[in-house]
Symmetry: C2
Subunit: 112 residues, 2 copies
Amino acid sequence: MKIKEVSEFTGISAHTIRYYEKQGVLELPKKDSSGHRNYSDTDVELINWVACMKNSGMSLRDIKGYVTASMEGRNEDALVALRIHLEKLKEQKKNIDHYIDVTEAKIKRLSN
Amino acid sequence: MKIKEVSEFTGISAHTIRYYEKQGVLELPKKDSSGHRNYSDTDVELINWVACMKNSGMSLRDIKGYVTASMEGRNEDALVALRIHLEKLKEQKKNIDHYIDVTEAKIKRLSN
DNA sequence: TAGCAACTTAGAGCATACTCTAAGTCAAAG
DNA sequence: CTTTGACTTAGAGTATGCTCTAAGTTGCTA
């Protein structure tokens, strides 16, 4: 897959994919004979999961930690990163539930 | 209340409160004889609610919209801002629930 | 073979939201 | 009186995460 196809498939812009590679969040894929990025199915799968983590609010620093552990076969470290993120998501959910309550209450108070 | 007390009460730093005033998110409070900010109970109450909105992820632009409507007595506009924010919170909650599921599934898959 | 789209790089610019610095004023405590 | 600490301002700097630009190469299509 070329970068544009990956971009369309994952919803991350080509600019952003290159940016992630420059930041070390993603590894550079193999290049074809004319120097263009050529992504394997495995690469695309990883980028897709990165998109998911990004959308769920994981920081690039943490995504990089996950990806690096993953690429180096440090499976336990990758899992730890995911578990920490999961805890953050659950915390966020709790906070949002609270803020929904508070905002609903405020709206009710102002509606009189 | 002086700015430091407001800062302690609301959890927003004095720097940030001044920044909000410069950005027009908050109105400048009355100043005492030596030119220091002197916040009324009403001011503090508003800043506290601003802190709540900020913590729940409302952008400064939207908080400014709410505060301005509120200060100008445009109650319906203030309410609309809150209702829009409430919808965003509910959307966020849905997304987070989804990402919790996805992350848990990923963890399970990697745990084998 | 000319044109066009898609690719490449380094690096600049932007949006959001702070966060800090410099230089100075002012009031109360020792 | 002088030191301490909180306050004032304008404005610079930081962090995150893009987003775009410039200048150039490559490869398909008419």
